[in-house]
Amino acid sequence: MRVEYINPFVESAYNVLQEVLSVEITRGELYLKSTSMPVLGVAAIIGLAGDVEGRVLFDMSKVTAIQIASAMLQSMEMEPIEELNDMGKATITELANMITGQAVTKLHNLGFKFDLTPPAIFTGDNMEIADTGVEALIVPMELPFGKIEINVAIRERN
């Protein structure tokens, strides 16, 4: 993945999470992965198009998703959720949208033009994702609620 893309994603993930959750966040070591990988249980996906092709995947366990959604809802003086209902899913989707949106804005300022697809959310057990032909950058984020793995796979259009 192009070096210039890395920082915008890492920075916006960190900034947005801290802003909306007001908790302490630590970023793990970044690494590359190319084989199929397990998905923790809840995965929000946003596609990228334009100069590039690819997608960003936000991956976390169900428990973490519920806690994050509850924290976000409470900060807006709404009721916390007990299970991953429509409200919970919409909240997680919105979080993914905020992070990706901010990253793409940063990239736009650097001269890279991307478009986003509407986010989608997948939930289930024992899920796996495989993208042949694209190497994914993994940005692990440690939160008090658990871990979010941001999985960015972007390829230049040749």
């Binding site: 993945m1 192009r2 070096v3 210039e4 890395i6 920082n7 970044l30 590359l32 992965k33 190319s34 042949t132 032909g133 694209v134 190497e135 950058l137 390829r155 230049e156 040749n158």
Partner: protein, 470 residues
């Protein structure tokens, strides 16, 4: 060759001679009904003991039971080869099963006979020495159970099964397997003194003298080989360096140098840590590794560039590190082909190095003069002008993953392949071939070699080590 005895038929009990008669009768498929067993006996084995445990060998594999007295000792044979034996004109080799399987062997008095069997395996005959022959036992083959590791000292892959008969447990050896193994080890000369030496009193003094010196020489050579093997291992451990097939020639050269250096300093030949490994690898790295190329190397690369190039020149530079070499190459290509569209895919899996590459800033004194026309002043020093910079796409990428580069006209991978395990080395080389067509240029590290059988012809000079796609 000398032999002093003939094998003698071994008869100890009625039961055994009965077994032997059946055997000599050619083992017709006639069925033998035993009184205490209503099932059909369809498997006979010669039983014997090894290290106090009972073993059996399928009687169809046994040619005869023999007593061996004197073997002719074979120099430089593996320790389990007792020697060769003249069996009525046929020379057969004798294997001591106890030595082969590391079982305790009773020492027989000098000159007394050893119990043994002569086995017939396909066309070959082979003699085996055992503790003592017991008898021939008939069993029901369906009663044979698969081997279990706890049953015997003999390596489990040489056991075809275990069977219980009259309260005794027999381990049935798979002689075909043992023999196959024997063949492969026999090809490799071993430096250990043969165990059969004691059985060769007839060898003259002078012969033994020659034998001893040649053995010493063999041991000395093996020690050097062993040291080199250790160094290989240490290089893998400390630095992930795999010279196999790509930098073997360098390694061997460096090793002789290293031995001399180390003995002069009174130090151990072995690499004891990362510092030693780095010191050993010091001469491996290519000139201007991780720096801007000097005039000489730049000229060397320029000399290899083709007259005619397509309008779009694509270059792949995996393992680009901080990008100094990529910028050097980009500058040279820009100079050489000012009107072409140049694109360099540069990647590295070291995030810290690669993240500074796109916006590399350096002091003016760090740059050889040839790059000057392409430099622009930046905030804290100099960087490359957009002419050069925009030609390069730096990626955080692992070359062993899927490579999304299109077909390229040139690949630069200096000192990269040697740091990949052999399997990945091969797949990356394959990918190099996939992404190029005839005439493409491949620049490798100064001490790296690719065989012509892989489709790359050496075209480099003394300065630049390069290959052209056939």
């Amino acid at each position: 060759m000398k032999n002093t005895s003939e094998p003698v038929a071994h008869t100890q009990s009625d039961e055994q001679s009965q077994g032997a008669r059946q055997r000599l009768g050619g083992l017709h498929q006639h069925q033998i009904q035993e009184q205490d067993d209503i099932e059909t006996v369809d498997y006979k084995m010669v039983t014997f003991s090894l290290g106090g445990k009972d073993y059996g060998i399928n009687i169809l594999k046994v040619k005869e039971i023999a007593k061996f007295t004197t073997f002719t000792y074979v120099p430089n044979a593996p320790p389990f080869v007792s020697g060769v034996y003249n069996l009525r004109g046929d020379i057969i080799s004798i294997i001591d099963l106890r030595v082969m399987f590391n079982l305790p062997a009773q020492r027989k008095a000098e000159g007394s006979a050893e119990d043994g069997l002569i086995l017939r395996l396909d066309e070959l005959m082979i003699g085996v020495v055992v503790d003592s022959i017991d008898k021939v036992v008939g069993i029901v083959s369906s009663r044979i159970q698969p081997p279990h590791p706890i049953f015997g000292d003999v390596n489990i892959k040489y056991i075809s099964g275990v069977v219980e008969k009259d309260g005794r447990l027999y381990i049935i050896l798979d002689v075909d397997r043992i023999f196959a193994k024997d063949e492969s080890t026999a090809e490799k000369p071993e430096s250990l003194p043969p165990a059969g030496a004691a059985n060769a009193p007839e060898l003259g003094e002078d012969v033994e003298g020659i034998e001893a010196t040649s053995r010493q020489a063999a041991v000395g050579k093996n020690e050097e080989q062993l040291d080199l093997d250790f160094i290989r291992e240490s290089l893998v451990t400390f630095r992930g360096f795999y010279p196999d097939g790509i930098a073997d020639a360098w390694l061997n050269r460096r090793y002789s140098e290293w031995r001399a250096e180390r003995s002069k300093l009174g130090l151990d030949v072995q690499l004891t840590g990362e510092d030693d490994a780095d010191e050993f690898l010091r001469t491996f790295y290519s000139p201007y590794s991780g720096r801007f190329w000097g005039e000489d190397y730049a000229e060397g690369v320029k000399a290899l560039l083709a007259q005619e190039m397509p309008k779009n020149i694509n270059v792949w530079n995996p393992g680009c590190g901080k990008g100094y070499e990529t910028y050097s190459l980009a500058t040279i290509l820009r100079m050489r082909y000012p009107d072409h569209i140049l694109k360099i895919w540069a990647g590295d899996n070291d995030l810290l190095s690669i993240s500074t590459a796109p916006n590399l800033v350096f002091g003016a004194d760090a740059v050889p003069t040839l790059y000057e026309p392409y430099l622009v002043e930046a905030k804290n020093g100099f960087s490359f002008s957009s002419e050069v910079k925009d030609a390069i796409l730096f990626e955080y990428h692992d070359v062993t993953h899927t490579n999304a580069v299109p077909n390229v006209d040139m690949i630069m991978a200096r000192d990269l392949l040697s740091f990949l395990p052999p399997k990945q080395q091969a797949s990356v080389l394959n990918e190099f071939s996939d992404k190029t067509s005839t005439g493409a240029l491949l620049i490798l590290g100064q001490n790296e070699y690719v065989s012509e059988t892989l489709g790359w012809q050496h075209v480099g000079s003394a300065v630049v080590n390069a290959y052209r796609r056939l």
